[in-house]
């Protein structure tokens, strides 16, 4: 049984669908990252999961119990979760008292309280800030206080809304380290919102792509990146080579995609006439100075339009009827004397092409896709 399950959940505000048909299952102990651009509905979804708001329609189950069953159930479930806001608010009190506040509220007193708060302060690395007024702390430190307050309650579910969005890179890295250590130390289920796919990849077991109120895809970050569900997801996750085209032939799953007068071969179940886009990782493209006879199904002649070194690799931009980016080792680029304006041959395997939908799939009212 999933720890949290949302079924056909919609959230409508001011005549606009903020969330559309969210069917999400989160397992106990899972770290799930909701990724999506600003305004996609990530905070709205976290607030609904935390039972701070009620959905316009649909259900939220916690450990198999319908959270709308009664106000008492709702309150009980809420107490098993903790939410760290994107811009946390701290009390005009010391770091210690900020963390102790909610524990006192729950009846903890004396040495037990003191030991607990001291331990949590240590976990979040704020031992030197013990008596400091929390309002005088930096953004990263305030975020630590907020995380400390949340984990002090030993929640079953920790919800984090863009935990590093307003921080400088160093503070962001430290908060990521802290989240990572919480994941290791506690068996807490974590649902975090981030617009940073790489952060999701670093921290989460699974990422879910939320765009324009729709949960479009979920899986390991690697899978989402390698096999984006549609062009929109591909663009969001930063796939560099996305070529629009139409399937013009299909035989034994080997399809031909026509694009700007060129034919790309790929392995796909899409049918003739369907508008698709071909996604190719730059690492899967091989360059050669002469025409080679190889098993690669895709071979094009083009011209190098730009080169730039990226660490031990060289990023080569090529125009071959459509623009392509290839990544080759710097050593290969030097040995081949690659230069702007040079004629070049590009090859890649049919299996290196991920074919995905061109058009965004508009979700219908009764359609259910569990993620």
């Amino acid at each position: 049984m999933a720890l949290i399950e949302t079924i056909d959940m919609w959230q409508r505000r001011d005549g606009r669908d903020i969330l559309r048909n969210i069917n999400l299952r989160i397992e106990r102990g899972e770290v799930f990252a909701l990724i999506g651009p600003t305004g996609a509905g990530k905070t709205t979804l976290l607030r609904l999961i935390d039972l701070l708001d009620e959905p316009t329609s649909g259900k939220i189950y916690f450990n198999g119990v319908d959270t709308a069953e009664s106000p008492a159930v709702r309150l009980g479930v809420r107490r098993r979760m903790a939410f760290v806001l994107q811009k946390p608010v701290v009390f005009n009190l010391s770091v210690y008292d900020n963390i102790a506040y909610a524990l006192r509220w729950r009846g903890m007193r004396g040495s037990k309280l003191r030991e607990k708060v001291e331990h949590i302060i240590d976990v979040v690395g704020l031992s030197d800030y013990h008596g400091r007024n929390a309002r005088n702390l930096s953004g990263g430190e305030v975020q630590r206080v907020a995380i400390a307050r949340a984990i002090a309650l030993e929640p079953e579910v920790l919800l984090l809304d863009e935990p590093t969005a307003n921080l400088d890179p160093l503070s962001a890295a430290r908060i990521e380290e802290l989240i990572s250590s919480i994941i290791r130390q506690y068996a807490t289920t974590i649902i975090m919102a981030t617009h940073d796919l790489l952060q999701g990849q670093r921290l989460a077991d699974r990422v879910g792509v939320l765009m324009d109120g729709e949960l479009l895809q979920a899986g390991s970050a690697r899978d989402v990146f390698a096999s984006p569900r549609n062009k929109e997801v591909a663009e969001f996750v930063g796939v560099e080579n996305i070529i629009d085209g139409v399937i013009t032939s299909s035989e034994d799953k080997i399809v031909t995609i026509e694009s700007q007068g060129r034919s790309i071969e790929a392995i796909s179940d899409y049918l003739i006439g369907e508008k698709v886009c071909a996604c190719i990782r730059p690492e899967d493209i091989t360059l050669s100075l002469t025409r080679i006879s190889s098993s690669a199904r895709n071979f094009f002649e083009g011209e190098i339009t730009w080169l730039v070194d990226v660490g031990p690799l060289t990023r080569v931009e090529i125009q071959c009827g459509f623009p392509l980016v290839a990544l080759v080792t710097k050593r290969s680029a030097e040995e081949m004397k690659l230069a702007r304006g040079q004629s070049i041959f590009v090859s890649f395997k049919a299996t290196a092409v991920h074919v995905t939908k061109l058009q965004k799939h508009k979700i219908k009212n009764m359609e259910r896709r569990i993620i």
């Binding site: 034994d252 799953k253 080997i254 071969e265 392995i267 690492e283 899967d284 091989t286 360059l287 050669s288 100075l289 002469t290 080679i292 006879s293 190889s294 098993s295 690669a296 199904r297 290839a326 990544l327 080759v328 080792t329 050593r331 290969s332 680029a333 040995e335 081949m336 395997k349 049919a350 299996t351």
Partner: protein, 69 residues
């Protein structure tokens, strides 16, 4: 062959097993090791891959995984 792939390894086709869409090609290297490649059946046919044919296994550096005992 001026090619960007860092690994161009010469060998001989040991075996070709055709599937419905893809073919599995086993290449014997001079030291006795083997490399297995999956390519489309049509490519295997176009290249005329048969046992004993001299071929090159072309592998990009980014696709090589390294393991230790």
């Amino acid at each position: 062959m001026k090619i960007s792939a860092r690994n161009v390894i010469r060998g001989k086709v040991k075996k070709v097993v055709h599937g419905a869409v893809n073919s599995e090609v086993i290449i014997s290297l001079s030291g006795g090791d083997e490399i297995t490649s999956i390519i489309t059946k049509i490519s295997a046919q176009n290249l005329g891959l048969t046992e004993g044919k001299d071929v090159y296994a072309v592998i990009k550096a980014s696709n090589v995984m390294i393991a230790i005992d």
